[in-house]
């Protein structure tokens, strides 16, 4: 049964990507996205009228403006009218929506982009507004405080040790030594600065193509062999914060374990998240392959996940990986997880 279903799936590949991240950008979202969207169109030789579906991801809470994504369509050139959609989520979910359109058989190419500019506002406040509006959000806990609650849970239950977190920070370059890690003051006890993300403005654009079209547009398409997303409960009280069932299931359904993974791009903003995700997805606790998860230089809300997919595709295009994994997360404490497996081989 499962076999037949997989057979029936249409093959979709990532054929081009472009991205930009900076701590504080003075460009508007439109000025930021035009060069990126133009770059992926140039790489594939596609014009907006050739693209079957356009889907984006962004947040009005970052822009401080309702329907802000509509203005960003100025960067696309939606004249004559185009088939278009938007998710108030990371662009990885916009890519999922486009992938579903491919499965419906109604498109051969898609443009997917996402962006976030946290610099005009307070990202910690923005992130508070995604919490349960009755019992949690009115207390305004910031993202680091909530992450601290989870980290405490992990440490007290012995699921992770401070030494493991120090090694993760060391591996990803936020500190140069264990000593440096332990000499840092607590930022959100038990988390130190080296455990927590920094933030940046940024955007990413990718082009997807069907099996009929991909090889015309790209020398070595990065084929999506599996993609799945799952959601844990929103209410912290009903979650065991030391596990992430949604990431585990998404990894299984995306077929992470069907073969070796050469590159893993995890959207792990905190050292604790890197550790939890590796555990839930069955990846080695200490990565044996290219470790390009946190720090993602910096986290860009709404773009980091799609950026992970773009980077995993780059691994395939550049011959660094034959099979790569990309992960995206959204919501508080890894509540929603999307896993995408890419391969240099079509079948």
């Amino acid at each position: 049964m499962l076999e037949r279903k997989v057979e029936a799936m249409r093959k979709v590949a990532i054929v081009a990507a472009a991205s930009r991240q900076e701590t504080k950008m003075l460009d508007t979202e439109v000025e930021m996205m035009i060069p990126l969207i133009s770059e992926v169109k140039d790489k594939t030789g596609l014009d907006q009228t050739d693209i079957g579906f356009t889907c984006s991801g962004s947040s009005d809470f970052l822009a401080g403006q309702a329907f802000s994504f509509v203005m960003t369509l100025d960067a696309v050139g939606p004249v004559p009218p185009i088939s278009e959609s938007h998710v108030e989520m990371d662009g990885a979910w916009a890519l999922y929506e486009a992938w579903v359109k491919f499965q419906m058989g109604v498109i051969d190419t898609a443009l997917v982009y996402s962006y976030g500019k946290p610099s005009p506002g307070s990202l910690q406040d923005v992130l508070s507004t995604q919490l349960d509006p009755y019992y949690v959000a009115p207390l305004w806990p910031d993202a680091h405080a909530v992450a601290g609650l989870q980290a405490r849970s992990l440490l007290e239950q012995g699921v992770v040790t401070a030494e493991l977190l120090a090694d993760c920070a060391l591996r990803t370059g936020t500190v140069d030594s264990r000593e440096e890690y332990f000499s840092q003051p607590m930022l959100s006890d038990p988390l130190r600065e080296a455990d927590c993300p920094t933030y940046a403005d940024g955007g990413v654009a990718v082009i997807l193509a069907s099996e009929e079209k991909a090889e015309e547009l790209c020398e070595k398409p990065a084929w999506i062999t599996g993609i799945d997303h799952r959601i844990d409960a929103h209410q912290f009280g009903v979650r065991d914060l030391t596990t992430v069932p949604s990431a585990r299931i998404a990894a299984q359904k995306a077929g992470v374990h069907d073969g070796p993974i050469d590159v893993a791009e995890l959207h792990a903003a905190y050292t604790t998240h890197d550790f939890l995700l590796r555990k839930e997805m069955g990846l080695p606790e200490i990565p044996t392959h290219s470790q390009r998860s946190y720090p993602i230089k910096a986290d860009t809300l709404m773009a980091s996940g799609l950026l992970r997919i773009a980077e995993a595709a780059r691994g395939i295009w550049e011959g660094e990986a034959n099979r790569s994994l990309a992960h995206a997360t959204a919501g508080p404490l890894l509540q929603q997880n999307l896993v995408c497996v890419l391969s240099g081989e079509r079948n």
């Binding site: 003075l26 000025e31 969207i37 100025d74 004249v79 507004t129």
Partner: protein
């Protein structure tokens, strides 16, 4: 609907019908490259437009992009302070937060040479005399109040002179001149 059972302790207690959880968030916006250039010059009583690199269409106010084609517009051009009414609306209800004498006229103003219009007020004109194609000119705030803000122009007033013919007024002019190629 599911029946909700509450502890006897809460019998007869007035149910909570609503919860107030006020949210306030502050932002410090940067206007971006194009709007910044525009506002700086607007503070010198100059109106800038963007020139489309695709077909030369002039877009006012400049947003740094030709949205029809998704391309950056990096060229600016100084515009005259005269234009015409492309379309208008007479409003008889007040806007919260703005003190305007009723009725007031909001109009799409097309500057001479511009290919798109922008929303602004028309005054010194009885509503029954306002019409599509009517020529208007800017009425600026006193010089000492001019700043880098969209509020520099108080309103537009009739400037006299022959009307722009209806079929060439507003965006119709664009179509009439076949500007913007097949995408316009």
């Amino acid at each position: 609907m599911t029946e909700i059972h509450v502890p006897p302790l809460l019998d007869g207690v007035e149910p909570v019908q609503s919860v107030r959880t006020p949210i306030r968030m502050e932002y410090t916006f940067t206007p971006g490259v194009a709007a910044q250039t525009y506002l700086r010059e607007f503070g010198n009583k100059k109106i800038l437009g963007n020139v489309s690199p695709v077909d030369g269409a002039i877009l006012v106010p400049p947003r740094g992009a030709d949205p029809r084609h998704g391309v950056l517009c990096e060229e600016f051009v100084e515009m005259p302070h005269t234009g015409h009414v492309g379309s208008y609306c007479v409003t008889n209800v007040p806007i919260p937060g703005r003190e305007l004498d009723l009725p007031y006229i909001s109009a799409w103003i097309f500057l001479d040479g511009a290919d798109v219009g922008f929303l602004n007020l028309v005054a010194e004109c009885p509503p029954e005399e306002c019409r599509i194609g009517m020529r208007v000119e800017a009425v600026w705030k006193p010089d000492e109040e001019i700043a880098t803000t969209a509020e520099n122009i108080l309103y537009w007033k009739p400037s006299g002179g022959p009307d722009i013919p209806f079929e060439e007024a507003g965006v119709r002019s664009w179509h009439a001149r076949k500007k913007g190629g097949s995408n316009a």
